[in-house]
C-alpha cells in the first residue's frame, strides 16, 4: 500500500507530556494534499496543542511529524514556516500597532527575501507591497490598508489573518478558531475567504473551530479529539452519526 503522492501532513504516534501530565498521546493523522480538514473536540482535548506541536512551538515527547514526505519533527518554528507551513493563533495573529498593509507585508517579505535588509525601504510599488495589496484586495480589506491593525473590527482582523496567509508561500495552513468572536453576519464572508485559501491558493487546510455547523459544511473530513488523542477521523456525515463522537464531544457540549 504505497501512496504515490506523500501526505501533505503526516502525524505518527505523536505524544506530548508536560511535567507528568499527558496532553497528547498516540495521535495519528494523515492529510492528503489539498484536503480541508476540521478538527473538533471538547475544551482541553489537545486541539491547540496538536497545532503547536505541528508548527514547532511545542516539542513532542514521542512520535514524528512530516510535511510533504519530509520529516519536520526536529525543525525550528521559522524553518517549518519557510518549508511551507502557515498558521494562525486562537487569540491574536496580528500586529496591532502596525498598519493593515504592514501586517501583510511582513509575511510577503519572507517569501520574496531580503527581509533583514537595512537598505531596502518598503515603499509603494515594490514587490512585497504589491503582493500585500493583492492579498488585501482578495479579502476585501484594501480600503483599510493604512489603518492600524488594532483599530479594525474583529471580523476584519480575522480576514486580515487570511490575507497574511495568502501572502506567504504556505502550502499547509493551520487555522486555530478562525471564526472565534466573529458576529454571525461576518461568518459567511469568512467562510468564503477560507474557501479561497483552499481552492484558489490550493492550500491544504486544517481548522480547529467551535462553530460545528459551519465546519461540518466546510470540511471534507473531520478529526475528533478527546483526552489528547484522535478518536475518529471521517467525513462529516459519518462523524455526526458516530456514537463515540456523540458521547465524547457532542454529549459533553450539550
Amino acid at each position: 500500500m504505497s501512496t504515490p503522492v506523500p501526505s501533505a501532513l503526516s502525524v505518527q504516534g505523536l505524544g506530548l507530556t508536560i511535567g507528568g501530565a499527558t496532553i497528547l498521546q498516540d495521535v495519528d493523522l494523515e492529510v492528503e494534499p489539498g484536503a480541508l480538514i476540521g478538527v473538533i473536540g471538547p475544551n482541553g482535548a489537545g486541539k491547540t496543542t496538536l497545532f503547536n506541536a505541528i508548527s514547532g512551538l511545542m516539542r513532542p515527547t514521542a512520535g514524528s511529524i512530516s510535511m510533504d514526505g519530509h520529516d519536520i519533527t526536529a525543525m525550528s518554528v521559522p524553518a517549518r514556516a519557510r518549508a511551507g507551513l502557515g498558521r494562525t493563533f486562537q487569540t491574536s495573529s496580528n500586529f496591532p500597532r502596525l498598519s493593515v498593509l504592514e501586517n501583510v507585508r511582513v509575511a510577503a517579505q519572507v517569501g520574496i527575501g531580503g527581509d533583514y535588509s537595512l537598505l531596502h525601504f518598503p515603499r509603494r510599488g515594490d514587490r512585497a507591497t504589491e503582493v500585500a495589496m493583492d492579498c488585501l484586495r482578495a479579502v476585501g480589506l484594501d480600503h483599510r490598508a493604512h489603518t492600524a491593525a488594532g483599530d479594525i473590527s474583529h471580523g476584519d482582523k480575522r480576514k486580515l489573518e487570511i490575507a497574511v496567509l495568502l501572502a506567504t508561500d504556505a502550502g499547509l495552513v493551520l487555522l486555530d478558531e478562525p471564526m472565534a468572536g466573529v458576529g454571525s453576519g461576518d461568518v459567511p464572508g469568512l467562510v468564503d475567504r477560507i474557501r479561497d485559501l483552499h481552492e484558489e491558493k490550493g492550500c491544504t487546510v486544517l481548522i480547529v473551530e467551535h462553530h460545528i455547523e459551519v465546519l461540518m459544511d466546510l470540511a471534507q473530513k473531520v478529526a475528533v479529539m478527546a483526552s489528547g488523542t484522535i478518536i475518529a477521523f471521517d467525513t462529516p456525515d459519518k462523524i455526526m452519526a458516530d456514537p463515540r463522537v456523540q458521547s465524547a464531544y457532542l454529549g459533553t457540549a450539550a
Partner: protein, 291 residues
C-alpha cells in the same frame, strides 16, 4: 529668569544623556523582554576606549573628539553583540537567568575596568569650545549640553527612521508586538535580537564618551550611575516604548535639575518619588501598554 533657563536647558541636556542609555534598554526589553543590567558596562567600556583613542590623538582637538565618539559607538556595539551571542542567546526564553547573567557581567566588568584603569576618576580634556558657554537669554549654558542634545536627537531620528521605514525595522516592530506570530511567519527573530543589542550597545558606547565629557572624567562606575536613571526613565516612559523613553528622559532630568537647585539637592530623591508616583497611577508607564 536666566537661572530658570539654565536649569531647563541643562535638564534637557541631561535628559539627552539618559536617552542615549535608555533607548537601548527600551528596545532590548521591548523585543526580548530582557532587562539588560550589563548596559552600563557597554557604556563604561565605550567611554574608556574613547578616552584612550582621544588621548593618543590629542584630546583637545575635534578630530580626537570625533574619533572617540566613533570608537565608543563601535566598541559598545561589539561588546553588546558578543554579550548577546555568548550569554543571552544560550539562555533563550529563560528571562530570570538572562537578567542574572547580565548582572554578573556588569559586576565583573566594573572589576575588570578597575583592574585596568584603577578606581580613581581619570579627568579628561575636550576641544576648547566644549569647555566654553553659550549665552541664551542671559543664561550661560555649557556647550557640552548642545552636543548631548544633538547626539540624542540624531539617535532618536535615526531609530525612528530605521524602525518605521526599513524592512528590518518593520520586523523588529512586528516582533515587539507579537513575537510568536513573527516566528510562525518564518522569521528567525534571533537575528533581530542580535541587531537590537548591537544598536543599543552602540548608543550606550556613544553615550559613554559623551557622559565622560558631561562629568569631566571617566571611571569604572560611570555606567552604573547612569544605568539606574536610565532604568527609571525606561520604566516611567513605559517599558519597550522608545517615544516613552525619550519623553520620560527629558521630564525626569528637568525635574531632577529643578529639585537639585530649588529643593536643596533633592533631585535623586524626587526622581525616585516620581517613579513611585507613576507606577501607582499608571503602572504600565506613560506610553506603556496596559497589559
Amino acid at each position: 529668569m536666566s537661572t530658570l533657563i539654565l536649569i531647563l536647558i541643562t535638564g534637557v541636556g541631561l535628559g539627552a544623556l539618559y536617552f542615549l542609555v535608555a533607548s537601548g534598554l527600551s528596545l532590548i526589553y521591548g523585543l526580548m523582554h530582557v532587562l539588560n543590567f550589563a548596559h552600563g558596562a557597554f557604556l563604561t567600556f565605550g567611554a574608556f576606549l574613547g578616552f584612550e583613542i582621544a588621548r593618543r590623538i590629542g584630546s583637545d582637538t575635534w578630530w580626537a573628539f570625533a574619533a572617540s565618539v566613533v570608537i565608543g559607538g563601535v566598541v559598545g556595539a561589539l561588546f553588546a553583540t558578543l554579550t548577546e551571542l555568548a550569554l543571552i542567546r544560550p539562555l533563550y526564553e529563560r528571562h530570570i537567568e538572562q537578567v542574572l547573567v547580565t548582572v554578573g557581567l556588569a559586576l565583573a566588568a566594573v572589576a575588570l575596568f578597575e583592574g585596568i584603569w584603577g578606581s580613581d576618576p581619570i579627568y579628561i580634556s575636550a576641544p576648547a569650545w566644549m569647555n566654553e558657554t553659550t549665552s541664551v537669554f542671559g543664561a550661560q549654558v555649557p556647550n557640552t549640553y548642545w552636543v548631548l542634545m544633538a547626539a540624542a536627537t540624531a539617535l532618536l531620528i535615526s531609530l525612528v527612521v530605521f524602525l518605521r521605514f526599513t524592512r528590518f525595522g518593520m520586523i523588529i516592530r512586528a516582533g515587539v508586538e507579537n513575537r510568536k506570530m513573527v516566528t510562525a511567519l518564518g522569521i528567525d527573530v534571533r537575528k533581530a535580537f542580535t541587531l537590537v543589542f548591537a544598536i543599543g550597545g552602540s548608543a550606550a558606547g556613544v553615550g559613554g564618551v559623551l557622559a565622560s565629557h558631561y562629568t569631566g572624567y571617566v571611571s569604572a562606575h560611570l555606567g552604573s550611575t547612569l544605568l539606574i536613571f536610565a532604568f527609571i526613565v525606561t520604566v516611567i516612559g513605559g517599558l519597550g516604548s522608545l517615544t516613552g523613553a525619550a519623553i520620560a528622559s527629558v521630564l525626569v532630568a528637568v525635574l531632577q535639575q529643578f529639585a537639585n537647585y530649588y529643593l536643596g539637592g533633592t533631585g535623586d530623591l524626587i526622581v525616585v518619588v516620581a517613579l513611585a508616583a507613576v507606577l501607582l497611577v499608571r503602572p504600565a508607564g506613560l506610553l506603556g501598554r496596559t497589559a
